[in-house]
């Protein structure tokens, strides 16, 4: 009897996968998911380099003059600089599938998570104050239909 039921079940016509599925699955580049993290890491590295350059630039004002020169040119002590404001932004985009607007227009939904870090750095003392501001955006992009 179970065999008969299995036969009946096998005869049932199944809903076919949409034609777009092949394109969506097979054309995904390997490593695509890691790209966002790689981009984020690169951006973070760039910001760190930027901060380092800014700090070293501030340090030049206080660099020791060449021997002998300082004695002849008694320049006034440079004014202490105020805190430097730096901003770092990290973001990550996550795909959350397709939405149907009014059940007709297909839209791809992306969620962008953003972390803004604002740093105030006292170049003279090296004291750093940090404020982190998390944010989130939803981006909808019209999807191609075939």
């Amino acid at each position: 009897m179970s065999d008969e039921i299995e036969k009946l079940l096998r005869k049932m016509p199944l809903r076919r996968p949409p034609k777009t599925l092949d394109r969506r699955v097979l054309r995904q580049p390997a490593g695509a998911a890691r790209l966002w993290w790689a981009a984020g890491a690169l951006a973070a590295a760039a910001v760190v380099v930027g901060v380092a350059i800014a700090l070293s630039g501030g340090g030049k004002q206080h660099s020791h003059p060449e021997p002998g020169v300082a004695e002849r040119t008694a320049q006034p002590e440079p004014q202490p600089a105020g805190p430097v404001r730096m901003e770092q932004t990290y973001s990550r985009m996550q795909y959350e599938g397709v939405l149907l607007l009014d059940d007709r227009t297909p839209l791809r939904k992306f969620r962008r998570r953003i972390l803004r870090r604002v740093l105030w750095i006292d170049v003279r003392t090296g004291y750093t104050d940090v404020m982190s501001i998390p944010d989130e955006q939803v981006v909808l992009i019209a999807a191609e239909t075939y």
């Binding site: 179970s2 009946l8 049932m12 996968p17 695509a32 795909y95």
Partner: protein, 160 residues
């Protein structure tokens, strides 16, 4: 590894989609689930693990489908895994009626039994592969499948 995954996708596309549809009850979520599962698999070093890759791929699609459903719960009636439009006017009345009864019986199954039926009958998996896909012991899946067939038989008898 990518080639092996592609081969599994091409061979089991229908089964993977049907499983995702059985879990989510929506064709768009099922499509998203299959895509996201493969996106994860392409990038996962775990896909190079030993063992049955087919069962692992089905498990990944099932998990992605559950995630989709969790992210976007849907209150309306779930879509059927069966294609109602395939039963056109040219089909004999008794055959169309049989289609309706079987569909009704399958849709009335508890989700875990329906998944067992989808994996065995429509995806063509072995019990071992189905067990891996569902993350359950083989005996549990086999017993669910048998119970599902008995339930369908009883339902058909009752309805007709």
């Amino acid at each position: 590894m990518r080639r092996a995954l592609e081969a599994i996708y091409r061979k089991h596309k229908q089964g993977l989609f049907t499983l995702a549809l059985a879990v989510t009850g929506r064709a768009d979520l099922a499509e998203d689930a299959v895509q996201e599962a493969f996106l994860h698999l392409w990038n996962s070093s775990r896909s190079a693990r030993a063992g049955d890759l087919v069962g692992y791929v089905f498990a990944a699609v099932r998990n992605a489908a559950i995630d989709q459903l969790r992210k976007r719960p849907f209150a309306a009636a779930p879509a059927s895994i069966f294609d109602g439009s395939a039963v056109g006017p040219e089909v004999a009345v008794d055959q169309a009626e049989q289609f309706r009864l079987v569909r009704q019986a399958v849709e009335a199954l508890p989700p875990e039994q329906r998944e067992a039926v989808v994996l065995r009958v429509y995806a063509g998996l072995t019990f071992r592969q189905a067990a891996e896909a569902l993350g359950e012991p083989l005996a549990t899946v086999a017993s669910r499948y048998r119970r599902a067939l008995e339930t369908i038989r009883a339902q058909l008898r009752e309805i007709s």
